[in-house]
């Protein structure tokens, strides 16, 4: 049973092709995750909140467009030199708009900058400006890699899929046929019960 279960999961995950190398106690665990998964995602918790995609005026409800966060737009800056500090980032990026928030996280092992930053702007124009002009900008000898942090995706605005470890709703029928990797009832109920907001 455990083997079958694992196989179904793995196939599901890899869409038919097994990873050539697998490792770790969890790989063969029958109970650990599977049993608790029910509990972890039971009740209304099966529904994951997400922010509404701005369907709007400028018709940006297509996939891959920048997604608005609660208080603005977040850009993601990568390839930051490790000794760069927050004031340096603010210096560079306030050029293109008023910065609402900066997260410049540090490497827990070395204590230096991890190499990425998240910056919040209030307006989409500011954020777009920062992405356009900041990308490739040289800071402390390294060219910054700048893009939006969040994008809209039509798959996430569809019906809520109950959280099991399937990749997509399309594969759930496959899984049920194979002996109900996870309760089929729960699956179908959950899918339409939650109203997304």
């Amino acid at each position: 049973m455990s083997e079958e279960r694992e196989k179904i999961f793995t196939e599901d995950l890899r869409k038919g092709i097994f990873p050539s190398k697998t490792k770790g106690r969890g790989i063969n665990a029958t109970e650990s995750m599977e049993v608790e998964m029910e509990e972890r995602y039971s009740g209304k918790g099966g529904v994951f909140d997400s922010l509404p995609v701005a369907t709007g005026t400028d018709g940006d409800d297509q996939d891959g467009q920048p997604l608005k966060s609660v208080e603005g737009y977040i850009i993601f800056v990568a390839n930051i030199q490790e000794e760069v500090q927050e004031p340096d980032i603010r210096d560079v990026f306030s050029e293109w708009g008023q910065i609402r928030n900066v997260h410049l996280n540090i490497d827990r092992r070395t204590g230096f900058t991890k190499g990425y930053a998240l910056i919040e702007y209030q307006s989409k124009e500011e954020a777009e400006d920062a992405v356009k002009n900041g990308n490739g900008f040289e800071l402390a000898g390294q060219k910054l890699d700048v893009g939006f942090a969040f994008i809209s995706s039509s798959s996430s605005s569809g019906p809520v899929i109950s959280v099991n470890r399937s990749i997509s709703s399309a594969s759930s029928s496959y899984r049920n046929k194979n002996g109900g990797y996870r309760g089929g009832d729960r699956d179908s109920k959950k899918k339409y019960s939650g109203k997304r907001y």
Binding site: R14, K114, I151, S153, S156
Partner: protein, 193 residues
């Protein structure tokens, strides 16, 4: 056993590289490290990119029920975050958002640089009453699924027979949490923990 040791040595040597970098003494090592990471990322096929998966869980069962924190990055760049506690009737928090390729790229870089894919959990402490941590990653053709107990501090790590390996896990988890908390915190304006 020998192979595990070899892996540990590998991991240690990577660590040395990192500390060299941080002292600023050699930019050469730093560029080699990034080149390798870049190479690995560049050699990913479209399918392997799509199959990338990461899940982290930490939790325990106690006075306030099953309390846990879990997040996962799955196909389609979807980030899911769940934080469950019944403490003082607090509600569970569940969030989902789609992140850009830039974020996924950085995430993979963090994973590769950490050297976690070379580790093994066979010598790590088993999950116990204190709690459990699970880390599952599918990257390229490798799939790891590690479980261990909660790690309170570096002191706990040192007690482990495979302390270097556990240390890799210990720091990676913190870096991952840090990234996810920033992402979720900024997007939804909530303060995780």
């Amino acid at each position: 056993m020998t192979s595990v040791n070899e892996q540990i040595t590998d991991a240690v040597s990577t660590d040395v590289d990192i500390s060299n970098e941080s002292s600023g003494s050699s930019t050469a090592t730093s560029s080699t490290t990034t080149a390798t990471t870049k190479d690995i990322l560049n050699s990913e096929t479209a399918k392997e990119k799509d199959d990338f998966y990461l899940r982290y869980y930490v939790g325990h069962k106690g006075k306030f029920g099953h309390e846990f924190l879990e997040f996962e990055f799955r196909s389609g760049n979807k980030l899911r975050y769940a934080n469950n506690s019944h403490y003082k009737n607090e509600n569970l928090i569940r969030k989902e958002v789609c992140v850009s390729d830039n974020v996924i790229k950085e995430l993979k870089k963090i994973i590769i640089d950490s050297g976690i894919m070379m580790e093994d959990d066979s010598l790590w402490p088993e999950p116990d009453v204190v709690g459990k941590q699970e880390l599952e990653i599918v990257l390229k053709d490798e799939h790891i699924s590690f479980t261990t107990t909660k790690i309170g501090s570096l002191m706990d790590v040192e007690k482990c027979e495979d302390s270097e390996g556990l240390k890799v896990m210990f720091y990676l988890i913190q870096d991952l949490k840090c990234l996810v908390f920033s992402l979720i915190g900024l997007h939804f304006k909530i303060k995780p923990i």
